[in-house]
Amino acid sequence: MGNEKTKIKKLYALSSGNRKYIFSNPLRENIKIGNRKYEVKLKQDDKFGTYILWKNRKYPVEVVRSRQNRYEILFNDISYTFTIETPFGYKRMRVLSRQKGRKEKELVKSPMPGKIVDVLAREGNQVLKGEPVVILEAMKMQNEIQSPVNGTVIKINTKPGVIVNKDDVLVEIKVEA
């Protein structure tokens, strides 16, 4: 595999907002903006943990999650999610995304332990992406749990007053075609 690794000359970082960043492999410690090159470094110390040094300022960085080629990076307290692809992977991904059908069913899960105070969704009803389906009380706050997709509610697995754990499936939604 050793030779294969060195053959990869560039990598694509695809953001969840569909922006594409291209970097060379091996990765350079500078980024060109306009006509100027700026140095960028990943550093670490006891007080701050890891940080990125950029234009004489330290920015906190953390990896919130990583799975295979997907990374959620917390940069200066904001999350960014990327998929990293090799040129070959990138091409394949584009072909696949044209062929692959979409997910049929979406499970709305409880993001944290808490108590259900209200169920707004009704079985059989249409919901829009972003529409609140359940109200969950946790940490003294009422949180709207929203539908991640446009679709039809096919099953409700909870009711007001129920104590739920993280990741309990609350509502099942059939994704609109």
Binding site: K5, I8, L11, A13, S15, S16, G17, R19, Y21, F23, N25, L27, I31, V40, L42, K47, F48, G49, T50, I52, W54, Y59, P60, E62, V63, V64, R65, S66, R67, N69, Y71, L74, F75, N76, D77, I78, S79, Y80, T81, F82, I84, L107, V108, K109, S110, M112, G114, K129, G130, A138, M139, K140, M141, Q142, N143, E144, I145, Q146, P148, D167
Partner: protein, 501 residues
């Protein structure tokens, strides 16, 4: 000083805040160690720690009146400070303390009861000629009555829970045809939240500012006000940023509203620290909303511009001392802003983000004050509120305070949980906020994005993700960035985030 030892019936930053002042006054403190937070920072400020970790009750000890009285008696505390939240505005708790010869550091049980019940408070304000939004005389018993009264007042109206607070049991109604349904919803919600289904109706004031006055009164009947705080930056009735003074008030209006606040406090024989809340509309007309009979989260901004330690005053008043500060002595100097840094994910609509604080570094500039109950390694647990720290910044005027606040926000370094920091960074750059022309509907109506990220941040994050990919897949050497291994991928948060792009 008769008071020798205070039981702190609270936790977190407010417990620390109270104990700091007690120490300054040479009064001992007792803190309660719970199994939820056995190594919490507030414990290190106490002279005596009462170990309650064996307690397996479902109800937090800070809400258990009998247990708290028992602890006070066992540890020889002669006073109790309730802080805010929990039992701070529970008249029965205050009464129980007094029954057991324990000084309650707060107002009388009678004042707590009267101001805690919103319909009684309305009646008192009405008979004291305090300006108020038009509303129902008392509680409303059924839908028909609600529809009739709402028609008389004129829409939009707001339905509020008599025993309410924090936005629960509250509904805004704009059309007569929604009235019946909303009345039933509000009443049910009030019953669930406060064990009391009573609701009343008020004219809804559109786009007001939230202006509140800090009151201090002693047991001899002296009452003064310490000026106002502006708390219009709120989301779902939860305040996020407060400042003092408010740019909406001039000296004349300040004096008038302040004297109204004193008047209503006097009507209930108020002593200790308290807050009278008003709504201020675009014509600078003000309306009494409610009185909070406790020390408030945002009290530091008043302390910073008046130089008065409110906790010290509360203790002295409870001790029976006469208020030494006269109204004419109260001088407002400079400007103070408080940002509530909470463990919340602003990219996911402020969803709570409990977890362990892995790294914490706070600014120590002379213009900054930080009130906190956590340190590196502390946990933000889901059983309590999501407060990490209050960042309080002082400036010579509003412009100066905003400038310093912006600088200070960039010096706060928190790892392990997501925080409201990006929200405040956005706020400091938002023209409507910096102009001072914002109202309580600011977050709902004036924002396209809840957070600030400067140019190139996504690019730099992409660089890091690529670096990690190369190191994990294509080479061997690396610095491994701080990683939250305990966390699973969370489709709900992710979806919410993605939907915001």
């Amino acid at each position: 000083m008769k008071i020798k030892r205070i039981l702190i019936a609270n936790r977190g930053e407010i417990a620390v805040r109270i104990m700091k002042t007690a120490r300054k006054m040479n009064i001992e403190t007792v803190a309660i160690k719970t199994s939820v937070e056995p190594s919490a920072m507030y414990l290190s400020y106490a002279d005596v720690i009462y170990d309650n970790t064996e307690d397996e009750s479902e109800i937090p000890v800070f809400l258990d009146i009998d247990k708290l009285i028992g602890i006070a008696l066992k540890t020889g505390a002669d006073a109790v400070h309730p802080g805010y939240g929990f039992l701070a505005e529970n008249a029965y708790f205050a009464d129980k303390c007094l029954d057991n010869n324990i000084e309650f550091i707060g107002p009388s049980p009678d004042a707590i009861y009267k101001m805690g019940n919103k319909t009684i408070a309305r009646k008192i304000a009405l008979s004291s000629n305090i300006p108020m939004a038009m509303g129902s005389q008392g509680n409303i018993s059924n839908e028909e009555e609600a529809v009739k009264i709402a028609a008389k007042i004129g829409y939009p109206i707001i339905i509020k829970a008599a025993s309410g607070g924090g936005g629960r049991g509250m509904r805004i109604v704009r059309k007569p045809e929604d009235m019946e349904k909303m009345f039933i919803i509000a009443s049910k919600e009030a019953e669930k939240a406060f064990n009391d289904p009573s609701v009343f109706i008020e004219k809804y004031i559109e786009n007001p500012k939230h202006i509140e006055f800090q009151i201090l009164g002693d047991k001899k009947g002296n009452i003064i006000h310490l000026g106002e705080r502006e708390c219009s930056i709120q989301r779902k009735h939860q305040k996020l940023l407060e400042e003092a003074p408010s740019c909406a008030l001039d000296d004349r209006l300040r004096e008038e509203m302040g004297s109204m606040a004193v008047k209503i406090a006097r009507a209930v024989g108020y002593y200790s620290a308290g807050t009278v809340e008003f709504l201020l509309d675009s014509d600078k007309k003000y309306y009494f909303m409610e009185m909070n009979t406790r020390i408030q989260v945002e009290h530091p901004v008043t302390e910073e511009i008046t130089g008065i330690d409110l906790i010290e005053q509360q203790i002295r008043i409870a001790n029976g001392e006469e208020l030494k500060i006269k109204q004419k002595d109260v001088k407002i100097k400079g400007w103070a802003i408080e940002c509530r840094i909470n463990a919340e994910d602003v990219q996911a609509g402020f969803a709570p983000d409990p977890g362990r604080i892995e790294k914490l570094s706070l600014p120590d500039d002379e213009y900054v004050r930080v009130d906190t109950g956590v340190t590196s390694g502390s946990a933000i647990v889901s059983s309590y509120d999501s407060m990490i720290a209050k960042l309080i910044v002082r400036g010579s005027d509003r412009r100066d305070a905003l400038k310093k606040c912006k600088l200070a926000l960039d010096k706060v370094w928190i790892k392990g949980v997501k925080t409201t920091l990006p929200f405040f960074r956005m706020l400091m750059r938002h023209p409507k906020f910096t102009s001072g022309l914002f109202t309580t509907s600011f977050i709902e109506k004036d924002l396209d994005q809840y957070y600030h990220n400067s140019e190139y941040e996504e690019l730099l994050a992409a660089w890091l993700a690529t670096k990690l990919f190369i190191e994990e897949n294509l080479t061997d050497d690396s610095i491994k960035p701080d990683f939250r291994e305990s966390r699973e991928i969370d489709p709900w948060l992710l979806n919410k985030r993605i939907s915001q792009f």
